[in-house]
Structures are given as C-alpha cells and as structure tokens.
C-alpha cells in the first residue's frame, strides 16, 4: 500500500501554531483562504486535512461542510472530542457531512489534553475516565455504522435505547468513516485496537518506535505519525531556516510549550516534551529535530533536512511499520506545496521501485517453485 499523507488545516492562520498564547488567537478565518488551502492540498497529493477542535477555533464539522461544497477530492479529518455531544447526534452530523461530501470524511478522536479547557465545555472527567467514556462513545458510533438495525447500548456514560438514524454514512468505499485516534498512553493503544483504524503517535526515532508499532500492527491496525516538517533543497538551508525560526521565537517572553506541559494531562504531550528535555542535543536522529518543542509544544517535533533526507526518513518509518503521516509546517501552505512538489515525488518513485522489486522477487519465487 502506498503511504498516505495528511496535513493540518491552519484554521486561524497562525503561522507558528502555538507560538502565541491562546488568548491572542482570534477564532475568525477567511473562507476563501481555507478553500485555497484545500485546493492546494488536492494538487499536492494530500489525502485529508485535519480539522482540529478547540475553543480558539471554529467548529470543525460546520467548517468542513462549507469546505466540502467547494472542493471535490480532499477528505476532512474531523477532530471529535467525546463528552461534548451525544454519540447519536454526532453520528448524525458525521453522516450528514458524508452525504454532503460524497464520503470525504474521516474522524480523529481526541480525548482532550487540557483539563482547563475541558472545563469550558463542562467536562470534568479525569484522564482515565475520559478514555473510558471515549471507549463507550466509539462503541455506540460503530454500532450505528455497522447498520445492524436499532442501536442499544448501556454503559457507564451512555445509555442509548432503540437509536436509529435515517441518514447513513454515504461513501462508495465504506459503511462508516475511517477512525484515527491519537495518544501515546497504553489506554490510547487499547482503544485504537478496539475501535479505530489507525493510531497516531508523536514522532520519535524509528528504532524506539518499532516494537510498539509492531504490537499494534499485529492486531490489524495501522500506525500513523504526527510530525512537523521542514524540507529545503539542501540540509544547510533547512538548518538555517529551523534555527532562525527559533531565534525569532525565543525573542518572545513566554515559552509556550513549557507552560502548556505543566497544565496538560496528556501522556503523549508529556512524553514528547520529556524526550526533548532528556536528549543531549536537539537531534534524536540526524533529521528528527526537537529544537522547536520548548516554543511550540510537542507537535513541533520535526523532520528537518534536504528533500532526499526527508524522503528517506519517511521510507525508514515505513520500514518500521508506519503507513500514514499527519504533517504540520511553518507555515503550512508553503511547506505543503514544497512537500508535494519536491519530496512526495521521491517517495512515490521509491515506492514504485520497491513494488517492482517485490514483483520480480515473487516472479523468481514462482519460477523456483515451478522448477522444483
């Protein structure tokens, strides 16, 4: 299977995501710019765009509906936080979006990482209870998507009796959306195995990632990597841009990533931040850079290097079992255009060659058997 690439839609136009305190974000956006971003993504071979959820942003479902009407191919990976909606109403919204977009919707389950923000939504459960609720939430959603008649469910957090919906998940390929789930904790892993198709993990060196990935693959699920990217024609240019970015950021008084770390209860965020702190340099591998994490938070762990370096890093992750990537860039549009033009063609070429090689191996194998 060819690797699949997704990108985060920069919803509020903040060039350096999380560089600003959340109080400075404005929550308004230009629809035209967003549509242009979607079309650029389509041209660059991007599979879907992550529509994030948070109090500083517009609602991802409503925004996706508007964007779907103006695009033809791009999918929308809608972030959902159980606990802010009845699962039945959520399925109704996702199914409506699928019908409007001809199935171009998948979902990204986030269990929430800031207890502070969760309170804005009236959600006061702790980390483990939130996972337990997400478990039930997905069980209900998947029951609707299995289309086995009326849905009945009785759990600790939800009680659904004779649930039915007329609006089905509309798609030529599937009866329910592809489900992505993010998290580094064991709970997240178990949840992904039970209900999702793909688990997102923050990037770390392929060698340390390998064993965990293998465990999930063995259960028939995919593993994807959430990582920022900074590719330039040469390694020197990439390094120069990376360091000049943090030089600009360090002029700001607040190290946002650090303050955030103290407030989050997300295992993924904390472990990535720890990775950055414990490392003796800013480099976990020659191309995996942690230098921006103190300023921009855990998602700023980044692939940095020349086109070829980054393409081969991605292939190396593929060898470790990673099959999907969710990228962020600084800024997103430029980086995505560059990736589509310069890096992706290298990856696709390697994939084609690899397939050819495999075919000829198979052919050799068949001959050998035939000759025996």
């Amino acid at each position: 299977m060819p690797l699949r690439f997704h990108w985060s839609l920069s919803q509020v136009g903040d060039k350096f995501r999380r560089a600003n305190a959340t109080t400075e974000m404005k929550g308004l956006f230009s629809l035209e710019e967003q549509i242009a971003f979607c079309r650029a993504a389509e041209q660059n071979g991007i599979d879907s765009l992550l529509m994030a959820f948070g109090f500083t942003r517009p609602d991802p479902l409503v925004l996706s509906a508007a964007l779907a009407m103006a695009t033809r191919e791009i999918k929308f990976m809608v972030a959902v936080r159980p606990g802010v909606t009845s699962p039945t109403a959520f399925v109704q919204q996702i199914n409506t979006l699928s019908a409007l977009s001809d199935g171009r919707v998948c979902i990204n389950i986030v269990t929430g990482h800031s207890p502070h923000e969760l309170g804005y939504y009236g959600d006061c459960l702790d980390h483990d209870q939130r996972y337990e609720r997400t478990d039930e939430f997905l069980a209900v959603c998947n029951a609707f998507w299995r289309r086995n008649g009326e849905v009945n469910f009785k759990g600790k957090h939800y009680d659904i009796r004779n649930g039915k919906l007329n609006t089905p998940f509309v798609s030529r390929e599937r009866t329910g959306p592809e489900i992505f789930l993010g998290g580094n904790s064991d709970l997240a892993e178990q949840l992904a195995i039970r209900h999702a198709h793909c688990l997102w993990r923050f990037a770390e060196a392929p060698a340390s990632l390998g064993p965990r990935v293998a465990r999930i693959l063995a259960r028939g699920k995919e593993v994807g990597l959430l990582v920022s990217i900074l590719a330039r024609p040469t390694r020197e240019e990439a390094l120069r841009d990376a360091y000049s970015m943090i030089a600009a950021l360090s002029a700001k008084p607040e190290k946002f990533g650090k303050t955030f770390a103290e407030r989050t209860d997300s295992v993924a965020y904390r472990s990535t931040l720890r990775l950055a702190e414990e490392s003796s340099s800013d480099w976990l591998t020659p191309w995996l850079w942690t230098g921006a994490i103190p300023y921009l938070g855990a998602p700023a762990i980044a692939l940095v290097g020349s086109n070829e370096e980054i393409a081969s890093a991605i292939i190396e992750y593929k060898m470790a079992g990673i099959s999907q990537f969710l990228f962020m860039g600084w800024p997103d549009l430029d980086e995505m255009n560059y990736f589509g033009r310069e890096v992706l063609p290298i990856i696709r070429r390697e994939e084609r060659e690899e397939r050819k090689e495999r075919k000829s191996h198979q052919a050799d194998g068949a001959l050998a058997i035939g000759g025996a």
Partner: protein
C-alpha cells in the same frame, strides 16, 4: 400607538413592523409532503439533496421569504451542517436551525452556531424545541421527562446567551450543566445582531416561560385567533414576539383551495396508514401542543379559513389556512392585528405553494401593511 421613540418602556412597537414569513425547507424527494409515518420510513429524507435544496433556497429568496426552517429529527440530516452547505447559494435568506437541548454541550453548540454565522454572514436563527417524543429522545441517550427537559433547556439557553453576551469567562453551575471559565474565540458574526434570533416553540406554560426568559419569539401552532390572543399579549408584554407555525393552501378561488385540501387527504391507501401512524404517535408523544392540535382535528374547521382536516393524517403542523389568496391574506392580517408578527409556513406541493404565496398572497399583505402605515402616519401628524 407607542411609536414615540422616547417611550421608556423599552418594548419595541412591533405592530408597525412588517410581518415576517418563514418557510419549512422540504427534504430530499419531498415534493408533495410526507406524513409522519412516511417520514420514518422514507430513507431518502435522510439524504440531503444539495442541488435541489439550494434551488428551493433561491426560490424562497425570490418569494420574499425571510428564512427557511431546517427541522431536527432522527429521520433527517443534521440542520446545522445542511445550512452550512446551502448558505452560500443565497445572499439574504436566513436559516432557522431547529435543535433540542440534550444533544450537545452548550459551549460546543454555540461554537457550531457561531461558526455557521461566520460562514454565512449571520444569516442564522435558532429554533429551540424541548423534544416531543420520549422514544426518539431515548435514541439520543436522553431520558428526562417533559418538565425536566424544559428545565434543562432553560439552563442550556442561559449558557448560550451568556456566551453570546461575553464570549469569555462564562461560569455556570446548574442541575444539568456546568461550565468553568468558558471561552470561545469564534464570535457570533452578524451585521445586525450580537446573538441569533431564538424561536422557542411549544404550547405549554413551560415553553412560554422559556421563550420569555431566553428567546426572542414564542412560536405556537395555529388556532382560532380568539384562542390565541391571551397568550400572545402575555409574551408581548414581556417584550418578545409571538409567532405561528401553520400550513397554507391558497388558490385563486376558495373552491380550488377546498378541492386541493380534500385531495390532500383523499389519497388511499396511504390515508388509512397515515391516520393510524399519527394516532399511534400522539399516544406516545408528551408534547402538550401536539396533543392539543390532535384534538382540534376532531372537527374540520377551527375558524372560517383555518382547516384542521389534515391534522390527523399529516400531523399537527398541517393545520392550514385554506382559501382564496385574499382570504388567506386577510386571515394572516387578522393574526397580525392580534400581535403575531412571524409565521413559519409550509404547504403542498412544497415549492408551488410557496411560489404562489409569494406571488398572490404576500403582495396583498404588503399592500395592506403599507396602507395601514400611511394611515398611521396621518394620525401621528
């Protein structure tokens, strides 16, 4: 009347404002109108048909219709997302999205509605209903009784209104909801208002109170004018508008209208099935106004132009003004004189009835309003 701008009451004089007309958006495949039993069965209703529905939106705009009502129910697509998809096809038309409390956290609901407002330039209003079918609510995981649903909706709208007022630092601790320092960055975007118009529907005392406390317009099902006047004055004295939900069968002559009405209910065998379906539904609903409307359906007419003959087969919103264009216009103007200022209408067939209303009924109403306004101007001179 109280047109003196210096009047300290703060209550707007709504009698001089033109009446406003809204129409219900038909669902995919719904050209003639489905009875409730068909709605539950017809899977196509669940699928949006953006092309046909956008066409209906444009026609509504041309007909002088203010907004389209997008219902909420298990059989239908989600109204908020449908509005986001249809909004860009029009410029002036508004969308009234119907919701119940108990489906979304209020913070998230405000975020969705604000996002929608920013996409379509504030052309969105809210219709809050407390829900009418305990069975349907159970499918959404909601098991509260009629009165508790109203109590929860009170809390829900309090929180929504707080977000629309402050956007940040929203604190609420109630029986059903809790919000801690709630903050949202996407505001309600509109050139006209800081929060959406809120239609609160329902015939019960709780509904009326909810409308007065948190809404901008109390909606009820139509009935004879004399039966409505007390409730209407009551909410208007409290500073909100009163509106009616009803259907219309207007034709060039009264005879043609009566014929169209009897054809609507004559069709067999669906007729029998619809009667059974609706009576089963009424047994199970806990809605005060649906039950009251069903009782009205015992007789054929509630007032000279107010036909109740389709209620028992087509549901309570099928209570209809039936008559020649002029008769229907006059009946509406009579409601207007009572103080009812907004109307959510529907008809059969869906599109043709709206087009005829815009062409033949609405001009009579507007001419009459203009005449009254000019008389008023002479008096105040």
């Amino acid at each position: 009347m109280a047109s003196d701008p210096g009047s300290a009451s703060g209550v707007q004089d709504m009698s001089s404002m033109p009446l406003r007309f809204h129409w219900r958006l038909p669902y995919a495949g719904e050209t003639y109108g489905f009875a409730r039993t068909d709605q539950a069965r017809a899977p196509e209703i669940g699928l949006p048909d953006p092309a046909a529905q956008a066409d209906f939106c444009r026609q509504a705009e041309q007909c002088g219709i203010d907004s389209l009502l997008l219902d909420f129910g298990f059989g239908k697509p989600d109204p908020m997302l449908l509005a986001a998809a249809l909004g860009p096809s029009t410029e002036k038309l508004k969308f009234i999205v119907a919701y119940r409390s108990g489906l979304f956290a209020p913070t998230m609901f405000v975020q969705q509605l604000n996002t929608l407002s920013s996409l379509i330039n504030g052309r969105v209003s809210l219709n809050i209903v407390a829900g009418y079918s305990p069975e349907e609510q159970a499918g959404y995981g909601d098991f509260l009784s009629h009165d508790e649903r109203y109590a929860r909706t009170e809390e829900f709208l309090s929180i929504c209104r707080a977000f629309w007022e402050h956007q940040t630092g929203v604190e609420f601790s109630g029986r059903y909801y809790r919000v801690e320092r709630g903050s949202l960055k996407t505001p309600f975007v509109s050139t006209e208002r800081s929060f959406p118009a809120i239609f609160v529907g329902g015939g019960s005392e709780q509904a009326k109170r909810l409308a007065v406390n948190h809404g901008t317009c109390w909606m009820q099902l139509a009935d004879a004018p004399e039966k409505l006047s007390r409730g209407v004055s009551e909410v208007r004295e409290k500073g909100i508008e009163a509106g009616l939900r009803l259907s219309v069968i207007a034709r060039p002559t009264r005879d043609e209208a009566l014929r169209a009405a009897s054809e609507l209910i004559a069709s067999k065998p669906e007729g029998e099935r619809n009667l059974k379906g609706e009576s089963d539904f009424i047994k199970r609903t806990d809605s005060v106004s649906f039950k009251a409307a069903y009782r009205l359906g015992e007789k054929e007419w509630a007032a000279p132009c107010l036909w109740t003959g389709a209620i028992r087969s087509h549901g309570s919103t099928a209570i209809a003004l039936v008559g020649a264009a002029g008769e229907v216009a006059n009946a509406i103007l009579e409601y207007g004189r009572l103080g009812i200022s907004q109307f959510i209408l529907s008809g059969w067939p869906k599109l043709e009835e709206m087009v005829y209303f815009g062409k033949a009924v609405l001009p009579i109403i507007r001419a009459q309003e203009a005449a009254v306004a000019s008389r008023g101007a002479i008096w105040s001179d």
